[in-house]
Each structure stands twice: as C-alpha cells, then as structure tokens.
C-alpha cells in the first residue's frame, strides 16, 4: 500500500518533471527560419524588392550589392511565427565570385528576378537557372519568377505571355510587380508569403499547442483560425 502510494507518488513526480522538461523544451524550440535567395541580373531591382518586403518602403538610393545583404522578416503563418531570411545577392559577377557556394547552401526557396523593361535580363534567366541547378539545389526547392519594374508601363519589353510561358516551362509561379509602386506593395509581400506558405506546408513541423489545466496536458495540432497565407 505504502509502496503503491510511493509508486503513485513517484509516478506523479516523474510526470511533473517530464512536464517541466517538456515546457522548457518547447521554449527552447526556436522560430524556424526559411532561407530564400533572390537571384538575377544586376540592376533588376533585387535590393529594392527585398527592401520593400522587409522594410515596407522603396529605398531612395541603392548601390550595387557587394557579396550579399541579409534581410529578415518575421511572419506568422497559420499561427506559427516564422523568420523569412532573405538573401539579397549581388548581380555583378565581380561582387559575387566566391560567394555563390554560400548562396545556395541549405536554401529553402529561390526567387529569380528580371526587369520587365530589359529583355536581356529575361534572357539571362536561363543562365541563372543553370547556375542554380549546378549547385545541386533539389527540385523540391520552390522557385518563383518575378518580373520587376512594372510601373514603367511604356517601357515594357518582356510581354507577360512570354514570361508566363517561361515560368510554366520551368515549373515556377510568375509574379509581375513593382518594388517602386506602393500599390504593388502587397503583391511584393505575397511573393515571399506564398513561398513561406509553401515551405511551411512542405516542411510542416508539429504545431505544438499545449494547454494545461490542473496538471492536464493536451497536445493538439489544430491550426490557428487566423491565417495570413496569401496563396
């Protein structure tokens, strides 16, 4: 009886210890990071696009990116807080040499950018895709195509249908947008949010929702009702 009591007491103690351990483990699980790289010719507006997404505005003045610039934005998707880590890469060869390996390491998604007012930047996409494939980026890594500078309507050189055909051929989603036009801001956000949603769906982690009611532990995976996934 005493033993039983002792045993029950020991069991309860173990359970409470486990609960504490579990809570601290939960706390230690950190916000997931999705690494998204932005690739494309120099001057297509990669820096402006990433700045628009992370900073919410269009930079007054930009210099050519040297090596890479890191930008981060925390978003909430289906109740989970996720850090979107955007790698704004350099478009100029001399500023990206010896960096390329690092760009593609453990990348979760790739954004290919071209300038809708410069046909050559669209033609060069083939080279960028080749480079990406050359770095053993898995086919499961989502890729999107972004045509930037749509605000320059009278200078457009790359027709939408041509871009769409290209995107289809390479199994990519196409976004035509403008980092400059404030009205397009949501569209820019949706590029990254869409990727984040896709990544979340792909790499779904347990959504730990722990409820405690006088020693009762309830673990469930019900998604948060408010979701801001644009897809």
């Amino acid at each position: 009886m005493a033993n039983e009591a002792h045993g029950r007491g020991e069991g309860a103690g173990l359970a409470s210890n486990s609960l504490e351990l579990s809570t601290s483990l939960e706390r230690s699980v950190q916000t997931r990071i999705f690494k998204i790289i932005v690739i494309g010719d120099s001057n297509v507006g990669k820096t402006c696009l990433t700045f628009r997404f992370t900073g919410g505005s269009f930079p007054d003045k930009t210099e050519a990116t040297i090596g890479v610039d890191f930008r981060e934005k925390a978003v909430e998707i289906e109740g989970e807080r996720i850090k979107v880590q955007v790698w704004d890469t350099a478009g100029q060869e001399r500023f990206r040499k010896s960096m390329v390996e690092h760009y593609y390491r453990n990348v979760h998604a790739v954004v290919f950018v071209y300038d809708v007012t410069k046909m050559v930047s669209f033609e060069n996409l083939k080279t960028w895709i080749q480079e990406c494939n050359g770095h053993r980026v898995s086919a499961s890594v989502p890729r999107v195509l972004v045509g930037n500078k749509c605000d320059l309507v009278d200078q457009i050189q790359v027709p939408s249908n041509m871009a769409l055909k290209f995107a289809d051929a390479h199994n990519m989603l196409l976004f035509e947008t403008s980092a400059k036009d404030p009205k397009e801001s949501q569209n820019v956000d949706s590029i990254f949010m869409c990727l984040a949603c896709r990544l979340k769906a792909q790499k779904s982690l347990i959504y730990w929702n722990v409820e405690r009611e006088d020693g009762k532990v309830r673990l469930n995976q019900e998604p948060d009702p408010k979701t801001n996934c644009p897809c």
Binding site: M99, Y103, Y104, R218
Partner: protein
C-alpha cells in the same frame, strides 16, 4: 648726220637753180661771199640742233612736271607712310609691351604648369594607392560577407538541428508520458513526424 648734210646740200643746189627769191639771193650772195653752202649747212645744222634742243626742253619740262607730280605723290606717300610708321611703331611698342606681359604670364604659367604637373603626378600616385586600397577593402568586404554568410548558414543549420532534436526529445517524452497510468489526465497527443522538419540538404 649724213642724211642732214645731204638734205642741206640738196636744198642749196635747188636754191641755186630755181629760187629767185630774196632769201635765195641773199643766200646766193652769202654763198657767193664765203663758202655759202658751208654756212647754210651750219645754219641748218644749228637750226636742227635748236629744234632738237627745244624739243628736248619741252620734253624735259613735261618730264619735270611729271617728276614734280611724282615727287608730290611721293611726298604724300612719305607723309602717309610716316604716319603709318608712327602708328605701327606705336603698335609695335604696345605689342612689345604685350609680348613682355605675355612672356611674363607664360613664365608664370609654365611654373604653374610644372607645379600642376607635379601635383597631378602625386595625385595620380595617390589615386593608384586609393584604388589599390579600394580593391583591398572590397576584397576584405567580400571576405567579411563570405564569413557572415558562412556564419548564418551554420546558424541556420544548427537551429534546424536543434529544433529537430528538441522536437524528437519532446516526442519521446510525450510517448513516455502516454505510457504512464494517469487516471486524471486526458491526453490527446497528435504528433507529426519530426523528420519533416527542414533539414540541411546540401551539407
């Protein structure tokens, strides 16, 4: 002269034969007195010389007029040239002054040029050094970026590993908790496979 003599002779002969006029008489009488033909010839000669001289005089007079006119013209020219020369001399003087001024300026500018050349040389050297420094700085910046990228990649990988590890531990913990007899606990454990977490693919 021979022609003149012949002419005079012929005149004398003609007077002897046909002219009964007073002159002829006189001539004849003169001739008759002392070698008239010779005198006549002399007269004629002198007459001729006189005529020639008269002509010469008139020629010389007209020449003189001409020369006088020319002289006048020359005088006017001289005065014109003189005033021109004066003007030119004055101009030459001022040009000389200008030249001296320009020479001075040239000298100053030469010196300035030399100084500027020197400055340019030093600036070029400085530029070279700055370019070199810029290149080095760029290289360092790239190196920094490379290291930062490496650090972030490592951090991302560590974070993924840690999350995966913590998840696995939690899973194990809850499966153990489930095994415990816990009459008051209504546990509902729904877990997805933690293997689905993002994991380093390209490492």
């Amino acid at each position: 002269m021979l022609n003149l003599h012949l002419e005079v002779w012929n005149d004398v002969e003609r007077g002897r034969t046909q002219s009964p006029n007073k002159n002829g008489v006189l001539l004849q009488s003169q001739f008759n007195k002392k070698t008239p033909s010779k005198l006549h010839l002399q007269l004629k000669e002198e007459e001729h010389v006189r005529q020639k001289l008269a002509q010469k005089v008139s020629e010389l007079t007209s020449d003189l007029y001409l020369k006088e006119a020319e002289l006048l013209y020359c005088h006017s020219q001289i005065s014109r040239y003189r005033s021109e020369a004066l003007l030119l001399a004055r101009e030459a003087g001022s040009l000389k002054n200008h030249l001296a001024e320009y020479e001075y300026q040239f000298e100053c500018q030469s010196k300035e040029l030399a100084a500027l050349g020197l400055e340019k040389k030093t600036l070029r050297e400085e530029l070279e050094v700055t370019c070199q420094e810029k290149e080095e700085l760029l290289e360092r910046w790239m190196e920094e970026k490379r290291e930062e990228a490496e650090r972030i990649n490592k951090h991302n990988a560590a974070l993924e590993r840690w999350n995966s590890y913590a998840g696995r531990l939690n899973k194990r913990l809850y499966s153990r908790l489930r095994q415990q007899t816990w009459p008051t606990t209504k546990s509902q454990i729904i877990q997805k496979d933690l293997g689905d977490q993002p994991s380093p693919k390209n490492d």
